[in-house]
């Protein structure tokens, strides 16, 4: 079941976004997106340049997931957040290195690379961005 989770190329081709926040910026309307699209979802322009998104941002909204997907049981409960990065772009990611009760709106966070999903005994171990509170 969930064969699409086991795929190596399905994860591999997303690595630029998942490992180093490689996204796109619309050169017509300025919208910044992750992942990079061929067509701007806001204005429809095809004039998109590759940009690396900033690794810091703040939590706009979050939920603590107690009832998880297959493959995420190990992390449950985990905090899933919508984060606004310093350039105004938005991203969905897990918060890490905190207990769920510490999550709050407006919290300043920074990107780290973490193990995100283990797909069974024979599947791949996928890493990607998660966000932790900024260490001062």
């Amino acid at each position: 079941m969930w064969a699409y989770w086991q795929s190596v190329p399905a994860h591999w081709r997303e690595i630029p976004a998942r490992y180093r926040l490689e996204g796109g910026r619309c050169m017509d309307c300025g919208y910044i997106m992750l992942p990079k699209e061929d067509i701007c979802p806001v204005c429809g322009s095809k004039n998109i340049e590759t940009v690396i998104l900033p690794r810091k941002g703040k939590v706009l909204n979050y939920t603590v997931v107690w009832n998880a997907l297959r493959g995420y049981e190990y992390y449950t409960p985990y905090v899933l957040a919508i984060i606004e990065l310093e350039d105004g772009s938005r991203i969905m990611a897990q918060l890490t290195d905190i207990s769920p009760s510490e999550a709050k709106k407006g919290m300043e966070v920074e990107m780290v690379l973490r193990k995100t999903k283990v797909s069974g005994e024979s599947g791949i171990i996928a890493y990607s961005y998660k966000f932790r509170p900024v260490i001062r």
């Binding site: 939920t63 297959r70 992390y75 899933l80 969905m92 897990q94 995100t116």
Partner: protein
């Protein structure tokens, strides 16, 4: 003109002894017997058969098991809006004269896996798989984020979300095909377990198996009552929740509604909406213009949304209590509207109802379909 000339429903629930094919055939036969007509096209509505049952190609699958090998048939998928989308496209087959009579059968078989992780994974195919579900996003977690945004923006307490589930359970007691036919106590809502904060179990519709079928025709030729599909509308929104500017709005709902209402002065006597969660139900009634932003709870707490109130909402019990056989739900909604406007909703009838609106929603508001149904 496109008419609904017959419908058939199975109960929504755990059908351990029935497969996808048994459910589809049972509802289809009931619909065909209720109008006693032949069909020349089959449209199947379903959302999850590929990932849950390992069966796709449902057009051929249903035609085979229904003894209709040879007929043109196809599956339509739009997550929770599959049923509404299937009725919309089937109705275009009739109005474009591609077909004279179309059987639309919505079917979902989701209880073969009892672990919540598996049903969550199946439902997460309706959100952004690579940039939301990959990070542990469930469909329920998306509803939780929307609920949190709504609570912050309008300063709404968690308890205010209880009014929708309470009314839905009350309505479903009278609906023969409903899944949860019992009343809910307010204290049960308060002590309901957390699914994804702040969303709790009683905010959510249960998952259930079920099938619903409607027969569409160019003529009002049904022997047990006829209803006209006056108009329909559909619209999409971003598949990814994190890219939306304001989580408390679902523009696909109001756009689908606006498109359906173009060129008609239709006035619904009741509304059948897609309350996958209490928060989605609240946003839906706001997008349909039935309540001010942030104030939907009053519609449900004041009695206005009751079956005998001025704005009946989900007289059958909604997804919350009639149940949510995902891809079939939209066909249930249209079949229920037909039973209402032909005066055959025994026990759950909105008195004197002649016109109704159905709203099906896919994903987290990323695909909406509205139908306007009138008795003739």
């Amino acid at each position: 003109m496109v008419y609904i000339v017959g419908v058939g429903l199975t109960n929504v629930g755990n059908h351990w002894n029935k497969s996808l094919r048994h459910l589809a055939v049972e509802a289809s036969l009931k619909a065909l017997e209720s109008c006693n007509k032949n069909i020349d096209y089959i449209v199947v509505a379903n959302a999850l058969s590929g990932v849950v049952n390992g069966q796709e190609n449902l057009g051929s699958y249903v035609a085979t098991h229904l003894g209709k090998i040879g007929l043109p048939a196809v599956k339509i998928e739009a997550a929770g809006a599959s049923g509404g989308a299937a009725v919309l496209l089937a109705s275009s087959l009739v109005s474009s004269k591609m077909a004279d009579r179309v059987l639309v059968v919505g079917v979902e078989k989701v209880t073969d896996y009892t672990a919540l992780e598996d049903s969550n994974s199946a439902l997460s195919t309706s959100i952004d798989s690579e940039y939301e579900a990959f990070h542990g996003g469930t469909l329920d977690a998306m509803h939780a984020l929307v609920m949190r945004a709504y609570m912050w923006k309008y300063n709404v307490s968690k308890e205010e979300f209880s009014y929708l589930p309470l009314l839905m359970h009350e309505n479903a007691v009278d609906t023969p095909h409903a899944q949860l036919r019992f009343k809910l106590k307010p204290e049960s809502y308060s002590s309901s377990p957390v699914i994804a904060e702040p969303l709790t179990m009683l905010d959510l519709a249960p998952l259930g198996d079920g099938a619903a079928a409607v027969v569409l025709s160019k003529d009002a030729e049904g022997s047990n009552g006829n209803a006209e599909i006056v108009s329909s509308g559909q619209a999409t929104d971003s598949i990814s929740l994190y890219r939306r500017r304001d989580l408390t709005e679902m523009p696909s709902i109001r756009t689908a509604f606006k498109r359906a209402m173009e060129n008609t002065n239709f006035k619904p006597d009741f509304y059948i909406i897609h309350d996958y969660s209490s928060i989605m139900g609240y946003i839906a009634v706001e997008e349909l213009g039935l309540a001010e932003r942030g104030k939907a709870s009053r519609l449900f707490s004041s009695g206005e949304a009751n079956r005998d109130g001025p704005v009946p909402i989900n007289p059958e019990g909604g997804l919350k209590a009639r149940g949510n056989p995902v891809g079939a739900t939209g066909v249930y909604q249209v079949a229920e509207a037909y039973l209402q406007v032909t005066g055959r909703a025994d026990g759950w009838q909105v008195k004197g109802a002649m016109s109704g609106l159905t709203l099906g929603i896919g994903g987290i508001g990323s695909n909406s379909v509205v139908h306007l149904v009138r008795g003739v």
